[in-house]
Amino acid sequence: MNRKKMQRQLSAYLDHELNEAEKLAVERHLSGCQESAKTFENLQQNSQLMSGLRQPTPSGIWEGVQSRIEEENKGSWKSRFTLPVRGWFLHPIPVVSMVALITVFAFSFFILDVDQNSLEDPLDFYLIAHSEQTMGFWLMGEDSSSQESSVDTNFTVSDESQAYLDTYFGY
């Protein structure tokens, strides 16, 4: 193995991360190469310097963490009882789409409701008019048949309504 390749192993040798064979090869190389030996010495010194940077942790870490956790817990209780209005503004696209969807849904209900009324109206009108006319016959006797009915029954009933009447009432 050439010197450059061997030098790349020095760092792992320093960290005791080489297998036995690699370790022996590095040691053999170090005993014969002054430059590599100097590099290794340098790496070792710097490593010791860096280990010297370690320092005792100041006291009060847990107390600080604890108070911050407790503060955040209080905050989360408060947030459970308040509307997340700020959050809505943070997500405008889903909020706008939801509002649009609700509007379309409500509007379609309104339209369907109007259509249903417009279908039922002539039928109701026809039944009321018919019952009034029948009651008129009974109350006034046969003479009254010559009199003009106050209800105008000469309106047109749609095919759909007629089919409904035929099926359920036999008109």
Partner: protein
């Protein structure tokens, strides 16, 4: 004729080797996931030195390191529910510590303040030096070293801090940094050589 269980073969290839974890750590994390403050206190006491040293190595200021250490543990408390025991808890914790420290550093860099620059208020007084001269010398050396670390590439500084200050093994480094052991080996070598070059120039 030997038959092969397809399921076991696919499981073998799809899963990574199970991490070695001790039962006490699993219990501790599970208690913490159930919002047990005593378990959290134990975690803080167990890992505060490592987290503090990562933050100190990255930022170079004891005050900032103290704040970052607290940030890391608060973040762990918030995210511990997401921990799925797929790696060692310490690996997960170191990764959070590294990320929080790097985020803080880049936030400060964007505000154009050099956090690695050491001022007098940051002077650290080590406990076991024989004479006041030794103390001064050590303090000067540390200032130079911090300055040199600040000049390193971010990935080099990270790997050096994790290795030299927290003594993480190559296997742990590969898990924390998300790269192969071979890459850890070469990156550490490059980082050390670059640091050596900077320190030579400084001296």
């Amino acid at each position: 004729m030997q038959t092969y269980n397809i399921l076991s073969i696919t499981t073998f290839f799809s899963k990574k080797a199970a991490p070695i974890v001790d039962q006490h750590e699993i219990d501790l994390v599970k208690r913490c996931q159930n919002r047990d403050m005593q378990a959290m206190e134990e975690i803080v006491r167990q890992y505060k030195n490592q987290v503090y040293n990562i933050a100190y190595g990255m930022l170079g200021s004891p005050e900032d390191a103290q704040d970052i250490t607290q940030d890391v543990f608060v973040s762990i408390w918030e995210k511990i529910g997401q921990f799925r025991f797929r790696s060692k808890f310490s690996t997960w914790l170191y990764r959070i510590a590294k990320n929080v420290s790097l985020n803080e550093k880049s936030r400060r860099t964007s505000r154009k303040t050099d956090v690695v620059e050491i001022d007098d208020s940051q002077a650290w007084v080590p406990v076991d030096y024989q004479t006041p001269e030794d103390e001064i010398l050590a303090s000067e050396q540390q200032q130079i070293l911090h300055k040199a670390l600040g000049q390193l590439k971010e990935s080099y500084r990270t790997i050096l801090v994790l290795r030299e200050m927290d003594e993480l093994s190559y296997e742990d480094l590969s898990a924390v940094l998300g790269c192969s052991i071979g890459r850890v080996k070469s990156r550490l070598y490059e980082a050390r050589m670059q640091l050596r070059g900077i320190l030579k120039r400084e001296n």
